[in-house]
Amino acid sequence: MILTRRFIALFLIVILLNSTAALACGPFTLEGIFVHTVHPTYPLAQFAAGRIGVIQPSYARSYLYTAYRHLSGSNFTTSEQKALVDLWKQRLDFSSYENPAEWSSTWLEERKKVAGVPDRGEIEVYRAREKPNEYEFYVNCNKDSFEMARLVLTHHLKEQGAKSPVLRSWVEAQDQVFSNCGSGSSIPDPLPAIADMSARQDRVYQIATAYFYSANFDEAKKRFEEIVADSTSSWQLVASYLIARTLIRKASLGAPEQRQESLRAAENQLQKIIGDEKFVHLHASATRLRNLVRLRLYPQDRLHELARVLTNKKQNDNLKQDLWDYTTLLDQYLDVHQKKSEVIGKNDDLTDWIATFQSGIPASFDRSYERWQATRSDPWLIAALAQADARNAKASELISQALKVQPNSAAFASARFHAVRLLMESGKNDEARTVLDQVLKNHKAVFDESSLNLLASKRMLVATTLNEFLSYAPRVPAAISWNDDGREIPADDETVSAEMKEIKGEPRFDHDAGYALNQRIPLTILKTAAKSTTLPTPLRRDLAQAVWLRAAILGDTKTADEMVPALKSLMPELSAMLDAYLSDTTPQAKKSSAIYAWLKFPGLEPVVDIGIGRRTPLNQQDSYRDNWWCGAAFYPAEGEDESQVDSAPSFTGRSVEPLLFLSPGDKANAEREWNTLVAPGAAPNYISQQVIQWANRTPADPRVPEALHRAVTTTRYGCTDKDTGRWSKAAYDLLHRKYPNSTWARKTPYWFKD
């Protein structure tokens, strides 16, 4: 029985807090993540090892803790790094499901060895709470419950044999115990006084556990206490421990007003066990359970206690659980209850730093600067830098300090990035460029992919020539992600199509580069860019088609003509259309030919793609209506949702200033061109209008009926706005009025209303 007791002690593991993040769903669309804002670049092991890059205030708090430790010069041992990665994996990877139906399988298999016991099916492990909490379930019987029963059964089988009626009775009683796991209350009968004493003691224990699983905690506690009082029972020690578990479960599931009292009683009980050598084999489990109780009873004390443990340089074998508990508590204070003031300034530098670093309020800079002045520590220097802007009187001092950080420091990447950012905000672009060039040349390895993209973005903005701009505009996304839940998790190769796998590692335009090319650079410069071989071919192809179509729409026939040879070589599928365009002699005819080409190639658009962009072949309609420049229906671009912004923003490649290689005249021209381009609203409106004008101008052109048909099609399969229905009807009416017998009229039975 000693052996059994030891097994029991080993397998009594508490069920800890169980929480998962919210999920949502939407269409399956891959996204290029250039700069991570939720967590660092994968693989996360490099972050745990100290390659922390530019720290984002928006990172989850377990990463900020890790960054804090590295910034403080307190690195992690190999086993601690593994614990960190395990925690992140568990939190980010929802696919590692356990199948609770399998928990009872070994018990059920062992049970079959007992003669005369009928088979039984799966055992439900979840039990619903009582009203008014009936929609919430809890794991009532965990894996260890079944494993312990199996071990006891194995022991009994060995001692009593498979045909023992005593054993069969024990199994039947155990079946009753487990029948309470899912619902109900089934309590085994006590054995008569004539039964063997050991069997009677087993039964008393089974009765107590049956009360426990049927959520009758007061009765369960009473029964366990009776077992504790029986010094001859082999269940005496374990029952002591189960009293604490019963009290904890009562605190979780019972009346709220008795919660604190139950937790305090559990704490006392566990303290007794931990302080008594005869429970030595239960000490580890009891300590874990006591920590859980303390977490609930004294959350603020426990938070700071955990912070102290987590910042202690001594090896922490319990790092994963401590960090899990710490961040769970901190999330409660900062997000759920929004009580930052209750956790900062309590002689707990870690919590103070995380709360301040993530805060978006102006006072946070003062707090960070003050703490940096007091400590001269790197975590607070980085916090002050991240929260400073160039107007701040302390900016120069901070920049100067940031530039002193050495490359072997964990703070180097963040310090250099913010120094550059503040220099640029101060108009000191030459200094910023010098710092950037030095970093990119000598210290690239310090930066992860996401941080490198941040640097490239800054370098692009201080480029003094077009060629420099084009060198830094293309960037490889740090991850390709479905990002359907905002967690920026790289897509699993298995779930990504072969075509998408090809774009992995391929440079694309992030928001800043795309915005600059689409809205800040005039055609006169864009045409040079499109011919430059500095851009990778796929991006040059995208830019070339954008420049040609934009020039054609804006009536800049000279630029459009100039683009034709380059475009023909980059997109041979357009050759016939481009030849037709070139053969036209008047600007109006050229424009009509360009519109005709656009109608036949729905993938053409007068802008470059941002991110992964459209993947449907140029001449095919995209099933998500990304046809004929879908984005035109949505300018001015929607702003970010700021309604929920209560924390410091992350740093991303979205800024588009200063673009030094452009003159004020260039920028003015670009703005004028852009405004002309977007003025007509949704592209199908513009296309229909152009086709109608063309039809009225040259009704005999054999392409006109087809163009009218296709114009109506754009109003159905393109992106539209409130005026589109009107244009759809106009094109439809004209087609049916002037060309009623044409094939194209027959192919156009409907127009499409708004």
Partner: protein, 246 residues
């Protein structure tokens, strides 16, 4: 006095055909969906305290269970997080289905149907909603599942990828009471769905799903489902109702 019906064909008409006609013309019992408020907020797997809602105006669709199709297994996990409700709250139980290389066998179908159907037994649940981003190869399984469930569920709603309602229209003949196109978490390239969705099957036209962190023009639908990435508060609900003019 007793009528001898058989001798009078007109009386036969009156006594037999008219009641049949009346029965036939009587409006069908309204789907429980139509009894739900015009706004439903999703309560996902996290603690939610929703005792402040105006139950005439707002209902709750709570994640009741997650069912995972893993190989040939069906792994089911009920809601493990608290859900505090105001008395009289109209409820919809949501079952999220996830898959990992499922066999989609008949056994798996049967087990899945049992798991989903069980949530309709939860007290005060007037409808069941399934959230399953079925891939093309899983559609046939999904269709069969819905056929199995229809007779067993009070009212059946599904969430729909926006593409299912625009272009990739495979859901128009599913045995469901509504499909809720999800107008959020669609990636940067597909904002056009959010702005002016043109949803094809009528089953998609009555409701839409939006999120508080991706505000968009109020969709013109009878019932709006609202998701919040953070736990609901009175302020966040009021703000959402204001944004969507409800």
């Amino acid at each position: 006095m007793r009528f001898r019906v058989s001798n009078n064909p007109w009386l036969l008409l009156v006594f037999v055909l008219v009641p049949i006609s009346i029965l036939a013309l009587r409006p069908k019992p309204a789907s429980p969906l139509s009894e739900l408020p015009p706004v439903i907020i999703w309560a996902w797997e996290r603690p939610e305290k929703l005792d402040f809602i105006n139950t005439d105006q707002v209902g709750v669709a709570f994640l009741a269970k997650t069912v995972r199709l893993e190989g040939d297994h069906v792994v089911s996990k009920p809601r493990l997080q608290p859900l505090e409700l105001a008395p009289g709250t109209k409820l919809m139980a949501v079952v999220r289905i996830e898959s990992d290389h499922p066999t989609l066998s008949a056994t798996q179908l049967r087990k899945t149907a049992v798991e989903v159907a069980s949530v309709s037994e939860l007290s005060s649940v007037s409808a069941v909603q399934i959230d399953f981003d079925a891939t093309v190869s899983e559609r046939n399984f999904y269709r069969k599942l819905l056929n199995e469930l229809k007779p067993r569920s009070p009212s059946l709603s599904i969430t729909a990828l926006a593409s299912w309602c625009a272009g990739d229209n495979w859901i128009s003949d599913l045995p469901i009471d509504e499909a809720v196109p999800m107008l959020f978490r669609m990636g940067i390239d597909h904002k056009h769905f959010q702005s002016r969705p043109q949803f094809e099957p009528s089953i998609c036209a009555k409701s839409a799903g939006v999120s508080t962190d991706e505000p968009l023009a109020p969709p013109n639908v009878d019932r709006l489902y609202i998701f919040s990435p953070k736990p609901w508060t009175p302020a966040s609900l009021n703000s959402a109702l204001e944004t969507y003019k409800r």
